[in-house]
């Protein structure tokens, strides 16, 4: 079945709502309007207003209500319209949801869906990749799929998980990426990274929309006789260190790539683990390619300068290969 990334997420939610009557969706404009990106189009008509809830414009209420319902054993999917607005629900997510199990043994089986990412000329408040805020919060799980296959499999696994999961979906992939996926039910487990391209000379460790940039780079370098391995991390918390380190040990050269800004980003954590645990395998320093430490700018030339792309990655990759 050939589907877009968006359709894959939609299918995953739809199938889980059919499978489990405790699964429901809440968020701003998710019902009558079908969601700003049409992820939930038709769900209100099919599942009814009890299970597809249009909320007031209030992210703390959305996240908090999801936590309360999850404590009671339901499986809410809370849509935060743009990942940028997670800031408005931050206390609920990082202080309430993330710490319930550890503090008093209460499960919070909820999913927070957060459309993230730039490249859509949406400016500083509709473009951020703010996954690192949550990766620094023990008790949460954080995933960011790159492909329709993983988007569907991970949303289903997230809904079935008994801990709070922040599910980042990249807006620029919604309609741009199509892929054959299996018919019917399958999940992609939270945790394992995927080696999405095997290679010998250089590892690119990445996730989200940057997986596709990495593929472009790998195609270019392949024509020059350089074999690139790509690890799609997929789950950022907990991090699949073993798969990352195995790739580093194989290629001895590693480039860590993400769309989020550089300082305090997930790439720093990945680089640190490589340095601590695979230093003896490295033939060159670990290199990071990320957005510069600025807000996401609006105007196209500024945004283009901000976002990592194949040209920027190629430049660093060539430096790394020549080291």
């Amino acid at each position: 079945m050939l589907v877009t990334y968006l359709e894959a997420i939609r299918q995953g939610i739809w199938e889980e709502m059919e499978r489990d009557p405790d699964v429901f969706l809440l968020g701003e404009d998710v019902g009558v309007y079908g969601g700003p990106f049409k992820i939930s189009k038709g769900m209100l008509e099919h599942f009814g207003a009890r299970r597809v809830i249009d909320t007031p414009l209030a992210e703390a209420a959305i996240a908090g209500a999801a936590i309360g319902a999850a404590l009671m054993g339901l499986r809410p999917i809370a849509e935060i319209q743009y990942a940028d607005f997670l800031s408005c629900a931050f206390d609920q997510i990082v202080n309430f949801a993330a710490k319930c199990r550890y503090r008093w043994g209460a499960a919070v089986p909820m999913v927070v869906r957060a459309p993230c990412g730039g490249g859509v000329h949406a400016g500083p408040f509709h473009s951020q990749c703010n996954e690192a805020w949550f990766v620094h919060t023990p008790g949460l799980k954080v995933v960011m799929p790159a492909t329709p296959h993983d988007a569907k499999g991970l949303i289903k696994a997230s809904i079935r998980d008994n801990d709070p999961v922040i599910y980042f979906e990249h807006k620029a992939l919604y309609r741009r990426i199509k892929q054959e996926i299996p018919e019917g039910d399958y999940t992609v487990p939270i945790g394992p990274a995927a080696v999405v391209r095997e290679g010998r000379d250089l590892s690119i460790i990445t996730y989200g929309a940057m997986v596709w940039v990495a593929q472009e780079v790998a195609d270019t370098l392949d024509q020059e006789g350089v074999s690139v391995e790509i690890v799609d991390v997929r789950t950022l918390l907990p991090l699949d260190e073993a798969t990352i380190l195995a790739s580093v040990r194989k290629t001895s050269r590693v480039l860590v790539l993400h769309e989020a800004t550089l300082t305090g980003g997930v790439g720093g954590e990945i680089a640190a683990r490589i340095a601590e645990k695979a230093f003896d395998c490295l033939d060159a320093p670990v290199v990071r390619v990320a957005a510069p430490d600025t807000p996401v700018p609006f105007s196209p030339p500024l945004e283009e300068a901000f976002l990592p792309n194949a040209a920027k990655v190629l430049e660093k990759a060539r430096w790394l290969l020549a080291y």
């Binding site: 319902a69 043994g105 008790g139």
Partner: protein, 339 residues
């Protein structure tokens, strides 16, 4: 998390059973005294002896609120206590020994040492633990009420908070969401006139928290928070409203915090005459007077109740002191569900 095995406390004493009001008075007094005595031991004995780890937050003088409201709840209703609502735990069957162990950071506490003082909950008893950013419970309580409605249950949720919490954005978002969705939620404000050192006039410009009810399109009433019967009847009206599917209902209980914010706080910022005025309105003394006046009890009955509760509390403290500290190996347990 494995439940700690404890013997349940004996049920509160019953009178002849012929006068339901007298029975209720006995239950009020039982739980109010239990709360007062447990908190006094924690704040005035164990804390000063260095046996308490961290802060102590008591509800001294405010016991009529958690008791009056708590006794209107059905067993399957969900409670979101604040840090001044210890009696709710006892009403739900939590043993004082679990509370002492909680305050001492021992494994016998409800959080097994993972959190302290009033930060405790147990979903089996439908008690949800607060977090320190007060007011955050409101949207979560709305969500619990949503779940009850979702499942077609007749049960409701109760959320407790202070005057300080009403200044938080979460307070507004939670009430508004519950009102729009007509969720079965009873909102109980303990207006004890101080949030830490901040007096009401620096907290809000309106005269009463209840004044905000109409702004959310929900009923709200003001009640004497030191009168357990008045609180109880207001909570009954609120619960009935919520159970009938008419949406949230706000009760503002006017009271006074007869202590500092916590045990380390001498509350020197509170004018002394206020403590004196409110001491005369003490909810336990008031209940005693009423019971004696109505002939529901004589002094000997009251002393017997207090002696019995004190003895159980002595035993509970001893049990808690013998409960071990958590092993450091538990540090990394239960961040996530065990796979």
């Amino acid at each position: 998390m494995a439940a700690v095995k404890t013997a349940p406390l004996p049920a509160p004493p019953e009178t002849t059973g012929t006068d339901p009001e007298a029975d209720l008075a006995w239950r009020f007094l039982h739980y109010m005294f239990l709360m007062r005595e447990v908190e006094d031991r924690i704040e005035r004995k164990l804390y000063r002896q260095g046996k308490i780890v961290g802060g102590v937050y008591s509800g001294r003088g405010q016991e009529a609120i958690s008791v009056g409201v708590g006794l209107t709840a059905e067993p399957e209703d969900v409670l979101f206590p604040s840090h001044r609502d210890l009696a709710l735990y006892f009403i739900r069957g939590v043993h004082p020994r679990e509370v002492f162990a909680q305050y001492m950071g021992r494994v016998g506490g409800l959080t097994r040492g993972k959190d302290g003082n009033m930060h405790m909950g147990d979903m089996k008893r439908r008690l949800v633990a607060i977090i320190s950013s007060i007011g955050a419970s409101l949207p979560v309580a709305a969500g619990a009420a949503l779940a009850l409605k979702y499942r077609g249950s007749r049960n409701i949720a109760y959320v407790f908070f202070g005057d300080g919490a009403t200044s938080r954005g979460d307070f507004h978002e939670g009430i508004n969401f519950a009102a729009v969705q007509k969720l079965p939620l009873v909102l109980v404000c303990n207006n004890n006139q101080y949030a830490y050192s901040t007096p009401l006039e620096l907290q809000m410009a309106c005269a009463n928290v209840a004044d905000r009810g109409p702004g959310y399109g929900i009923p709200a009433e003001i009640v004497d928070g030191n009168d357990a019967f008045a609180v109880y009847h207001a909570a009954r009206r609120a619960a009935e409203h919520a159970r009938r599917g008419l949406g949230p209902y706000l009760i503002e209980c006017k009271t006074f915090r007869m202590s500092g914010h916590s045990a380390h706080d001498a509350a020197e910022y509170v004018p002394k005459h206020l403590f004196e005025e409110w001491a005369a309105k003490d909810p336990i003394l008031r209940m005693e007077s009423l019971m004696l006046e109505r002939g529901w009890a004589d002094r000997k009955d009251l002393d017997a109740l207090y002696a019995s509760l004190r003895q159980q509390i002595d035993e509970a403290i001893e049990w808690a002191e013998n409960s071990p500290y958590p092993d450091p190996s538990e540090l990394t347990a239960n961040v996530y569900e065990a796979s």
